[in-house]
Symmetry: C2
Subunit: 371 residues, 2 copies
C-alpha cells in the first residue's frame, strides 16, 4: 500500500528514523557514563520500546500502569512508573511488581508512602523513589524542605520498601527557546538532584540512584556527573516542538499524520485538511519560539516543507492558511503529512500507527491505551 492510497487521517511511523534517533541518544548517554532508562510514553508500542533499549541495560520508564502491564507482558522486566502513585493503585502495582524483576514506584507524600508500606511484605518488597521537584514545580517534594529529608528517611526505614533514591524531571525544559537555555535547565536538573541526594547521604540515608531527564535536557546536558540514569522519551518520535527548541531537526520526526485536502479556497488563502483536533491534538506547540507556529508542520509525502500554516483545529477539520497561489497547488484530494506539535499527545489519538518505509506501508504498530 502506498501513502497515496491510504485512508486518512492516518498515523505514520518511520522505524528507520526511530532507530536513528534512539541510536544517537543511546550513544550520547553512554558517553556520559549514565544508564539510559528510556520512557515509552510517547509511542506506547513494544516495537519502539525495543529500539529504545537496544544497546542499553533494558530498563524502561512508563507513564501508566496499563503501559507497565503491556510492556511486562512483552518481556520487559525492569520498569519505573514515573508518576506519583495514587494510593488506590498500590495493591495493583504491588501485584504487578511480584511478576517483575523490578517495578519502581514514585512517592512524594506520606499518604502514598503509607499505601506502599501497607502493600509491601518481607516476601514481596516494593522498590520506591522519592519524587523531587527540580524546578519544574509540577510534582515532587521541595529539595529545600526538611520535611523532604524526613519523607526520604521514612521510605528508607520502612521494613519492606527498597528505597532506590531520588527521581526528578525537568519538564520546564520544553519552555526553553534554544540549546543554551536548555543547558541551563539541564544544569539545574542535575545539580538540584545530585545536591539533594548528597544531603540525604549526609543525613545517613542510602541513595543508590539519582534519576533525571527529559529529551531536551539529556540532549544538551554538559555533565551527568552524579546521575545514575536518565529517562527521556520524546526523542523516539520527536515533533515540531522539539525541532523548534533545537532538540532535533524536522527531518528527525519519526511520527506524522497523513491527511487529505478536503477544501481548497485560493481566493481566501485557505486549505482544509481532514485531520483536526482528534487526529493531531490541540497542543499549542512552540508558541514561545514562534507565536505563529500553528498546530504542526506541513510536509509533502516526500518530506518537503510546505510554506503553509495550520492555523486552527476543530474536531475533524484542520484549517491551513497561506498565499492563494500556494494553496492552489494542493487541490481537494491531495495528501499531505503533518508533523504534530507534540507527538506524545497526537500519537495517543490513534489506535494504530502504520509503519512506513520508502512511502510504502510495511506493517503496523498497536499502542497501549488507557490507564
Amino acid at each position: 500500500m502506498r501513502l497515496q492510497d491510504l485512508r486518512t487521517p492516518a498515523a505514520l511511523v518511520d522505524p528507520r528514523v526511530v532507530g536513528r534517533n534512539t541510536e544517537r541518544l543511546s550513544r550520547r548517554i553512554a558517553g556520559h557514563g549514565a544508564r539510559l532508562r528510556p520512557h515509552v510514553k510517547t509511542h506506547k508500542t513494544v516495537e519502539a520500546g525495543r529500539l529504545q533499549v537496544l544497546g542499553n541495560f533494558g530498563g524502561i520508564t512508563v507513564s501508566t500502569l496499563a503501559e507497565a502491564r503491556a510492556f511486562a507482558a512483552a518481556g520487559f522486566r525492569d520498569i519505573t512508573w514515573a508518576v506519583p502513585i495514587p494510593p488506590a493503585k498500590a495493591a495493583e502495582a504491588a501485584a504487578l511488581a511480584r511478576e517483575l524483576e523490578a517495578l519502581h514506584l514514585l512517592v512524594d507524600s506520606d499518604e502514598a508512602a503509607a499505601a506502599l508500606e501497607t502493600q509491601a511484605t518481607a516476601g514481596s518488597r516494593l522498590s520506591v523513589f522519592l519524587k523531587l521537584d527540580c524546578g519544574y514545580h509540577r510534582a515532587g517534594v521541595d529539595p529545600e524542605s526538611p520535611d523532604s529529608v524526613r519523607l526520604a528517611r521514612r521510605l528508607a526505614d520502612a521494613p519492606h520498601l527498597d528505597f532506590r533514591g531520588v527521581l526528578a524531571h525537568a519538564g520546564h525544559s520544553y519552555a526553553c527557546r534554544d540549546p543554551e537555555e536548555v543547558r541551563a535547565v539541564a544544569r539545574q536538573e542535575r545539580e538540584v538532584s545530585v545536591d539533594f541526594a548528597d544531603r540525604l547521604r549526609d543525613a545517613g540515608v542510602r541513595v543508590p540512584e539519582v534519576s533525571i531527564g527529559s529529551t531536551p535536557t539529556v540532549t544538551w546536558a554538559e555533565s551527568l556527573e552524579g546521575v545514575t540514569e536518565v529517562r527521556p522519551g520524546n526523542y523516539a518520535f520527536f515533533d515540531a516542538l522539539q525541532a523548534a527548541i533545537g532538540s532535533c531537526r524536522l527531518e528527525d520526526a519519526a511520527f506524522s499524520v497523513l491527511a487529505s485536502v478536503i477544501g481548497c479556497y485560493p481566493a481566501r488563502g485557505r486549505l482544509v485538511l481532514d485531520a483536526g483536533a482528534l487526529a493531531l491534538s490541540k497542543d499549542p506547540g512552540p508558541t514561545h519560539v514562534d507565536p505563529e507556529c500553528g498546530f504542526g508542520a506541513i510536509r509533502t509525502l516526500r518530506d518537503e516543507a510546505v510554506p503553509l500554516r495550520l492555523v486552527s483545529l476543530s474536531q475533524e477539520h484542520g484549517a491551513v492558511d497561506g498565499p492563494g497561489d500556494v494553496v492552489a497547488r494542493f487541490p481537494v484530494g491531495t495528501r499531505l503529512r503533518v508533523i504534530p506539535n507534540h507527538s506524545c499527545l497526537a500519537s495517543a489519538l490513534h489506535e494504530r500507527y502504520l509503519v512506513v518505509e520508502a512511502e510504502r506501508v510495511v506493517g503496523e504498530w498497536r499502542p497501549v491505551r488507557g490507564w
Copy 2:
C-alpha cells in the same frame, strides 16, 4: 461501584443530565418549527444518540464514516456526514448509502462533486448538500461567489445525485462571549444560508433543505424561518466552554472526568491530579471570556464547585493552583471531578464512559473511535 472506589482517570456520564439537555433542546427546536437532526460527534455513543432523537424525526449527523457505519449498524437510517467528503472515500460512502434510507454527503468542490458523480448510478443515487460558508470561514463555498451557484447547479443537474440543498455551520459562535453575541451569529448563520438558498431558487435550482446549526446558535436563535433542519451536537454533554458563553450552566454538563489527587503541596499552593492531557485534552477553553479559565472546572463528587484552577496539563498530570488552605483540603487520594473545556475532545480520549446515577456506576457506554 461508588465513584469513590473507581480507578482514575475515568470518564463519567450522567444519562439523566443527557436526557434533560436533549429534551430541552428538542422542545426549543420544535417550537421554531424546524427539524432537529442532532449531531452525535460529541459522545459517539448509540445510547446518547437515542436520547437525542427522542421525539424528533430520527435523522442524525455524524463527523466520520466510522460513526456513520456504527450508527447504521445500530438502526439509524437517515444520516448526514457533515464534513466535505474526501474524494477517496466516495466509493465507501456510496456503499454505505445503499444500506440506508439516506446518507447525505457534503460537497464544496468540483473534485468532490466529480467523485460522487462517478459513484452514483440510476439504481444507487447519492444524496448531496452544498456546504456553505456562513461566516465561520473554515470550509464551504463563498455565498457571494457566482462559482458557488455554478457548483450548486452542477450538483442539481447531475443525473444520479439528489441535490438536497445547502448546509452551513456557524462554528464561530464558540468565540462569542455571551448570548447577545451568539444571537448575532445565529442571525448571520440563518440569513446567509436562507438568502443563498433563495438565490439558488431564483436561478432555477430546486433547494428542498436549508440545514444549519451549532449548540450556541440554536440555543439562542430568535428565528429559524426558512431553515428546515438544525444540527447541534455539543448540548448532549455540554462543557465548561458552553457554560462560559451562556449555552448552559455548569450543572448541565453531563460528561466529566474523575481524577485522583496524586500530589498536594499547600506550601506552594499546588495540587496535582492524575488527569492530564490524555484524559482531558488540551483545549484552551473559553479564554476569550475568562483568560484565567484553565483546562476545566473542578467539582467535588457531589458536584460542588471548588475554588481552584487547573492551570496546566502535561501527559498524565493536571496541575491545579489555589490558596494553600484550600489545597490542603484535598490530600493525596482525594477524588475530584473535572468538567472539561471541550467535551467533544475530552470524551474522544476514553474507550468507555462509566454511566453514573446518584454517585454510583450503573453501566458503561462505548463510543465509536477512528475514522
